[in-house]
Amino acid sequence: MFDVIIRRASLRFGNHCVFTDLNLTLKGGQWTCLLGGSGVGKTSLLRLIAALPAGETTGEVVCQDGFSVHHRIAWMAQQDLLLPWFSVLDNITLGQRLRRNLTDVFTRRPLLSAEVQEQAMSILEKVGLSAKADVLPQHLSGGQRQRVALARTLMENRPLVLMDEPFGALDAITRLNLQDLACELLQNRTVLLITHDPLEALRLGHEVYHLRGHPARLTDAITPPGKTPRTLDNNGLMALQGKLLDRLRHESFDEQSGEP
C-alpha cells in the first residue's frame, strides 16, 4: 500500500493564516489520527487533500506511487449525509449512480449489476444492517445511520479514506462500537481520521498527530503501543489520554485569554 504525502500545505482566510508549510505523510495501510481544537484547520486540511474548496489553499498531495490522489478517496463526514429519498441500499450504492454517464443511461445498462448488488448486500451484512436494505434513512437511529454511511464508504472501495469526526455526534457506547467496526472493516486502508476526542485517536491511530497554535503546526507523532482497536483497560493508553486532554485544555485556555 502506498503512502500519501502532503507537502507545504497552507491555508489562509483573507489575512488570517491558519497554517503554513505543513508536511504530513500518511503511511500506507495505516490509520493516521489528527487531533486539534476547533478552528485550527483540521477540516480544511482534509478538504485540501480531497481537492474540495476550502479558503485559499496551496500545497501538493501526491501518492508514493506517483499517481494523483484524485479518484482514490472516500469521504466520510460528521453528518451521515444519507439522502432521505433513497433507501439504505440506494444510499450505499450512490457512487455507482452518480458515475453512470449518458451512454449507460441510453444503452439501458442496469443501474446496479448483480455483482454490485451482491457486494452491497455483503457489506450491509458486515455492518449488521442487511435487514434494513429497503428502509428509508428517516426510520433509522443515529448509530444505524452512521453505519450506513460507513457501508457507503466501504462500497466506494477506495484506498484512501478521509474521515471528519464521523463518530462525533454519537453517544459513548455507540461510538465505541462503531470505532471497533470501522477499525475492523477499514483494515489495510490508508485512513486519515480527524477528531477532537483523544481517546478515539489513541484507540484507532497507528500514528496520532496534534495540530495546534497560530499558525497551526503538527506536533511529533505519538505512536501508541499495541494493536488497534486498543482496549480501554490499557493503563498506558489512559495516561496518554490524560496527557493529551491536558494539552487540549490548555490550548483552548490560551485561545480564550488571547495568547498565541
Binding site: R47, A50, A51, L52, H71, I73, A74, W75, A77, Q79, L81, L83, P84, W85, F86, L94, G95, R97, L98, R99, R100, N101, L102, L136, Q138, E156, L162
Partner: protein, 250 residues
Amino acid sequence: MKDSVKPFVVLVGLLVLWHTLVMAFDMPSYILPGPLAVANSMVDNASLLWEHTLVTLSEMLLGLLLGVLLGIILALVLVYFTALRPWLLPPLLITQAIPVFALAPILMLWFGYGLTSKVVMTILVIFFPVATCCYDGLRHTHQGWLDMAQTMGGNRLAILRHIRWPAALPALASGLRVAVVVAPIGAVVGEWVGSSAGLGYLMLQANARLWTDQMFAALTVLAFCSVTLYYTTDRVLRRLIPWQPETSQE
C-alpha cells in the same frame, strides 16, 4: 373533532350566517341572493355551468402545466448558466411588475379571444412563483451532499438527477401550491377582458343583466374548483415527496 370535518363545519356555518343576513336585512335578490336561491340557480343552469366550467378548467390546467414547466426550465437555466442570470432577471421582474390586468387587453389583441390568450395569462401569473421557489431549492442543496458527490466523481447530470433535483422538490412544492391558488386569477381575468366562454364570461354576462344568483352560482363553482385543485395538489405532493420537512414532523 376530526381535522377533515372542520372545513365542512366552517362551510355550513358560513352558509347559515349568509342565510340569516339575507333574511334579517331583507336583501333584494339582485344585491345579495340567499344561498337557497344560488343553489336553485345552480340546479337550473347545471348544463350551462358545466359547459363554461370545462372551458375555465382547461384554461387553468393547461396554463398550470405550461407555467410550471416554464418555471422549472427557467430555474434550471438560472442555476446552471450563471452568466445568463444578470441578463434574464430584469426582464423577468418586468413581467411581474406590470399587472396582468394591464397586459390583458394586449394579450387579447395578440392571441385572440379564444383559449390561447387565457392560457398565456395563466402562465404569466404562475411561472414566476414556481421559478423562484425551484431556483431557491436548487441553490440551497446541502453542501455536504455536493462535497460527497464530488469525491465520488459524479457527473453533473447525475448529481442534478439524484441529489439537487430531489433536494429542491420540497421548495418546488411550495411554489406549486402558490401556483395552483393563483391560476384561476389568470384565467378569469382573461375571460373578463374578452371571451365568449368560461366562468368569468358567464359572471360578466349575468352581472350585466342583474342575474345575481347566476353570478353567485358561477362564483361558487369557481371557488369549488380552486379549493379542490389546491387540496388535490397538496395531497399528491405530500405523497410524492415524503421527505418534506413539514410532513416528516407529523
